[in-house]
C-alpha cells in the first residue's frame, strides 16, 4: 500500500523516458562517429596539446593534441560494443545454464553449479591474459574474457530465482496441463524472473565498460591509437594534476551511460510488470 504510494510520488515513467533518452543519445553519438567527428580521433597535433575548451576544440585536446570530443564520440562505439556484446554473450548461456540446472535438479544441477564456481575463480583479467597469450591482444579477446566472466553471474542468479518460481503452484498446474520442462522454463519461469535479470544486466554492463578500461590500461583491450573511454581514462592518469578534465570527460561519459542504462532497466522492469501497469495508466 505504502510502497505503491511512494512509487507514485517518485514516478516510474519519467525515469524510463530519461533513461531511454540518455541511451538513445549515446547510440546516436556512436553512430555519428562512424561517419563524422569534428576532428579525426587519432590525429596527433603536438603543438596544440592540452588545450582548454574553445570553439575549435569544444572539450579541448589531450596530451598528444587529439580532439577530446572526437575521441569521446569514437570511444562511445567501443564502449557500447563491449558492454552489449559482453553482457549478451554472458547472459544467454548463463541464463540457459541456470534454467537447465533448476529444471534438472539432482546430480546434473550440482555439476553445472560447480562448473560455475570454477569459472568464478577466474577473474576477467586472468581470462584476458590467457586469451591474449593464445590469440594476441585486441578488443575482441577482451570482450570474450568479460563475457566468460559474466556467464556464472547470470547462471547463479537465474538458478536461484528459477528455483523459487519452480516451487510455485502455477508451475505445478502447467505440468498438470502437460507442459514440457522447456515450455515451463520459457513460458512461466523466464517472464517471472525477467525483472531481476534486466537489473543485473544493467549492472554487468557498467562493470563491463569499467573492465574494458582496466584491460585497455594493461594493454589487453583497445590498442592505441584507437579510442575507448576506458583507454582515455587510463591515459589521463599521468596528467591528473596538470589537466584533470582529461579524466573527467570520459568518467562523466561512463557515469551517464550507466545511469541511462539503469534508469532504462528499472523503467522496463516496471513497465513489464502487469501489477504496476494500472498505476502507470492512472498517472496519465
Amino acid at each position: 500500500m505504502r510502497r505503491r504510494a511512494s512509487r507514485l510520488h517518485r514516478g516510474a515513467a519519467p525515469g524510463l523516458v530519461l533513461g531511454a533518452g540518455l541511451v538513445a543519445f549515446l547510440l546516436a553519438m556512436a553512430l555519428l562517429a562512424l561517419v563524422w567527428t569534428p576532428w579525426p580521433p587519432a590525429a596527433i597535433d603536438v603543438p596544440h596539446r592540452l588545450l582548454h575548451p574553445s570553439l575549435a576544440h569544444w572539450l579541448g585536446t589531450d596530451e598528444l593534441g587529439r580532439d577530446i570530443l572526437s575521441r569521446l564520440m569514437a570511444g562511445a562505439g567501443v564502449s557500447l560494443k563491449v558492454g552489449m556484446i559482453a553482457v549478451g554473450l554472458g547472459a544467454v548461456p548463463g541464463v540457459a545454464l541456470g534454467l537447465i540446472a533448476s529444471a534438472v535438479k539432482g546430480r546434473s544441477e550440482d555439476v553445472i553449479m560447480q562448473l560455475c564456481d570454477f569459472a568464478f575463480a577466474f577473474p576477467a583479467l586472468l581470462s584476458a591474459i590467457m586469451l591474449t597469450a593464445t590469440y594476441g591482444a585486441g578488443i575482441d579477446n577482451a570482450i570474450l574474457a568479460i563475457a566468460i566472466y559474466n556467464v556464472p553471474v547470470f547462471a547463479k542468479l537465474t538458478r536461484a530465482m528459477a528455483n523459487s518460481v519452480m516451487a510455485r503452484e502455477f508451475v505445478q498446474a502447467a505440468r498438470a496441463a502437460g507442459r514440457s520442462p522447456a515450455g515451463i522454463a520459457v513460458h512461466h519461469v523466464v517472464p517471472n524472473i525477467l525483472a531481476a535479470l534486466l537489473v543485473q544486466a544493467t549492472i554487468q554492463f557498467s562493470i563491463a565498460i569499467l573492465a574494458e578500461a582496466a584491460l585497455s590500461y594493461l594493454g589487453f583491450g583497445t590498442q592505441p591509437p584507437e579510442a575507448s573511454w576506458g583507454l582515455m581514462l587510463s591515459e589521463a592518469q599521468n596528467f591528473l594534476f596538470v589537466a584533470p578534465r582529461l579524466a573527467v570527460y570520459p568518467g562523466l561519459a561512463i557515469a551517464l551511460s550507466v545511469l541511462g542504462l539503469s534508469l532504462l532497466g528499472d523503467g522496463l522492469r516496471d513497465a513489464l510488470d502487469p501489477r504496476l501497469q494500472k498505476i502507470a495508466w492512472q498517472r496519465a
Binding site: M1, R2, A5, L8, H9, R168, E169, F170, Q172, A173, A174, R175, A176, A177, G178, R179, S180, G183, H187, H188, P191, N192, D273, P274, R275, Q277, K278
Partner: protein, 539 residues
C-alpha cells in the same frame, strides 16, 4: 458501578496517502469488562485487525485515528509514546496468527520471554524462574529443559503456546488474540482454545478475540461484534446473536457454514482410478558420497479407489502426506506402486506418454495467489492447457472455450484480458477452477481449494464444485483439513496421518461413528470443542 475496562466509542481509522484519506474503520464502538471475552468477527478486509491494533496505538504512522479509546480510565489516544510503552506488553498484550513469524528465530525461548519481563522492570535474577513458571502455565512439557530451545525446534502449537506465555507473563488486563489458531491444525487449535479459556478464567483478564471462524466464536465468546467493511453491523451476547441474527450480513455468515452431506456411493458407476500400496519415499542423503541413509515416508502404502462422478475426501493434518498423495496420483512427483487409470497402469509412463492423459487429470491448488502466474492474463492462464492438448484449435475456438469455462465458474468472461492481481481471492480460485475445467477433465484433485478463502466465499466455492460435479459428472479427490467442508462434499473418506491410512470407507458411517481413536480426536476437535477440553482436563 465502576467504569468498564475498555470503552471504545466512535472509533474511526483512515490511511493517509497522497493527500487523500482512505477510511478503513468507521464509527466502531464496544465495551469490554474484566473477565469477559468479546469476539470481533469479520472476513478479511473488514477492519477487525486494524481495530485491534489501534487499541494499543500500534498502527503505522500513515494511519489517522479519531474517536475515543478509554482503557482503565485513561484516554489511549492522548497518551505519550512513553506512556504507551508502559501500556504495551504490560497492560495490553497481543498474540498474532502466525507463531513462526511472531517469534525471533535467533532468540531462545528464555530470551524471548525474558525480554518482555526485563522491559517492564523484573529483576534479572527473578527472570529465569518466572519464564519457567510462564511456560509451565501454558502447558509446555519440561519447561526448565526447553529454555534454550529456538523457535524452529518447536511445533506450531508449542510456538503459539510460547507466544501466549509471552503475552500473559506480565498479567495483562486486556489480552488481544488476533486469529491465534488459524494457522494451526484442528486438534492443536482445540487445545489452544481450551488453554486460552482456562487461563482467562484463572487470571480474570478481558479477552478480545479476533476471528473469521464462527465455530470458534460459538465456543469461546461471551459477546460478539460482527464487522463488515469497517463497521460493526451487529453486536450482542453470543447466545442471542447465534439464536436470532438480525442483520442480513450476520445471517449470511451463519448460513455460510458448509452444510449438507454428499450422496451415498453408487457402486454401479465405473472405477476411474485405483492405487495399490502407493508409496512416496524421499531419500535422506548424508556424507561426502551422498549415500542414502534413510527415507522420509511422506506417503506410505495408500490404496484408494475413485468412482466416476464421486468425491473421495482425503483428510489429515499438516504433514500427513495428503498433498504429496495428490501430486503422486497426478504423476507430478515420483512414486512406487501401481496407479490404475481406467484399467491401465500409468505409473511407469514417461512424460510424453502421460501428456494426452493430462487432459483428464486436473488439479486445483490451495493458494489462489500462488497458483496463477502474475505475468499472464486470465485468458492466457485458462487457455494454456488447450494450447498444449488441442493444438489444432484456432484462436477464436480457444477463446470461445475459455469464455465457456469462465462462465461455468460464474466469472464474467469480459474480464479475461485482465491480470490475476486485479481479482479477489475467491475470484482467483474460480479462475484456477476454470483452468482445470477448460480441458473437460474426468477427474480433478482439489488440494485444500477453500482453505485460503473467507467463510462466505468458501461456501460459494463448495456450491460451485458440487454444481459442476452434478452437471459434468467429474470425479474429485478433495484434500482438506476442514472436516465440515469434506462432510459436505465427500461420499468416500480416507483419514491420513504420517503417510498412512488411519481409517477409510464410505463417508456417512465414518462421520456417524468413527472407529479409530485418531479419527475420533479429529472429529471432536472439529465439531465439538468442549469434548476435547473436557478430555484434556480429565487426562
Amino acid at each position: 458501578m465502576t467504569s468498564p475496562l475498555l470503552h471504545v466509542t466512535g472509533l474511526g481509522i483512515g490511511f493517509q496517502a497522497r493527500g487523500a484519506l482512505t477510511p478503513v474503520v468507521q464509527d466502531v464502538g464496544f465495551t469490554l469488562e474484566k473477565g469477559r471475552t468479546l469476539a470481533l468477527v469479520g472476513e478479511s478486509g473488514s477492519g477487525k485487525s486494524i481495530t485491534a491494533l489501534s487499541l494499543a496505538r500500534l498502527l503505522p504512522p500513515a494511519a489517522r485515528v479519531t474517536g475515543h479509546i478509554n482503557f482503565a480510565g485513561d484516554d489511549v489516544l492522548a497518551m505519550s509514546e512513553r506512556q504507551l510503552r508502559a501500556l504495551r506488553g504490560r497492560k495490553i498484550t497481543m498474540v498474532f496468527q502466525e507463531p513462526m513469524s511472531s517469534l525471533n528465530p535467533l532468540h531462545s525461548i528464555e530470551r524471548q520471554i525474558g525480554e518482555i519481563l526485563e522491559l517492564h522492570g523484573t529483576r534479572k535474577r527473578d527472570i529465569r524462574d518466572r519464564v519457567v513458571a510462564a511456560l509451565a502455565e501454558v502447558g509446555i512439557p519440561d519447561p526448565a529443559g526447553r529454555l534454550g530451545a529456538y523457535p524452529h525446534q518447536l511445533s506450531g502449537g508449542q510456538r503459539q503456546r510460547v507466544m501466549i506465555a509471552m503475552a500473559l507473563v506480565n498479567r495483562p488486563d486486556l489480552f488481544i488474540a488476533d486469529e491465534p489458531t488459524t494457522a494451526l491444525d484442528v486438534t492443536v487449535q482445540a487445545q489452544i482454545l481450551a488453554l486460552l479459556k482456562d487461563l482467562q478464567t484463572r487470571l480474570g483478564m478481558a479477552m478480545l478475540f479476533i476471528t473469521h471462524d464462527l465455530g470458534i466464536v460459538r465456543k469461546i465468546a461471551d459477546d460478539v461484534a460482527v464487522m463488515q467493511k469497517g463497521r460493526i453491523v451487529e453486536a450482542g451476547p453470543a447466545a442471542s446473536l447465534f439464536a436470532g441474527p438480525q442483520h442480513p450480513y450476520t445471517k449470511m455468515l451463519l448460513a455460510a457454514e458448509p452444510k449438507g452431506a454428499a450422496p451415498a456411493v453408487d457402486t454401479t458407476r465405473p472405477l476411474l482410478l485405483q492405487t495399490g500400496d502407493l508409496k512416496v519415499w524421499f531419500p535422506v542423503r548424508r556424507g561426502l558420497m551422498r549415500r542414502v541413509v534413510s527415507h522420509i515416508k511422506a506417503v506410505d502404502g495408500i490404496s484408494l479407489q475413485v468412482r466416476a462422478g464421486h468425491t473421495l475426501g482425503i483428510v489429515g493434518e499438516s504433514g500427513s502426506g495428503k498433498t504429496t498423495l495428490g501430486l503422486a496420483i497426478l504423476r507430478l512427483i515420483r512414486s512406487q506402486g501401481p496407479i490404475i487409470w481406467l484399467g491401465k497402469d500409468i505409473s511407469s509412463l514417461n512424460s510424453t506418454a502421460m501428456r494426452p492423459l493430462r487432459r483428464d487429470l486436473q488439479v486445483v491448488f490451495q493458494d489462489p495467489f500462488g497458483s496463477l502466474s502474475p505475468r499472464m492474463s486470465v485468458a492466457q492462464i485458462v487457455e494454456e492447457g488447450l494450447r498444449i492438448q488441442n493444438s489444432s484449435l484456432t484462436a477464436t475456438e480457444r477463446r470461445s472455450r475459455v469464455t465457456a469455462a469462465l462462465a461455468a465458474t460464474d466469472l464474467d468472461p469480459a474480464t479475461m484480458d485482465r491480470f490475476p492481481h486485479e481479482f479477489s481471492g475467491g475470484q482467483r480460485q474460480r479462475i484456477a477452477i476454470a483452468r482445470a475445467l477448460v480441458l473437460e477433465p474426468k477427474f480433478i484433485v482439489l488440494d485444500e481449494p477453500t482453505s485460503a478463502l473467507d467463510m462466505s466465499v468458501q461456501a460459494q466455492i463448495v456450491t460451485l464444485l458440487r454444481d459442476l460435479q452434478a452437471r459434468h459428472g467429474i470425479a474429485y479427490m478433495f484434500i482438506s483439513h476442514d472436516l465440515k467442508v469434506v462432510k459436505a462434499l465427500a461420499s468416500d473418506l480416507i483419514i491420513m496421518k504420517g503417510g498412512k491410512v488411519m481409517e477409510s470407507g464410505p463417508a456417512a458411517p465414518i462421520f456417524a461413528a468413527p472407529q479409530h481413536p485418531y479419527t475420533r480426536a479429529l472429529f471432536a476437535a472439529a465439531f465439538n470443542i468442549e469434548a476435547v477440553s473436557a478430555a484434556e482436563v480429565a487426562g
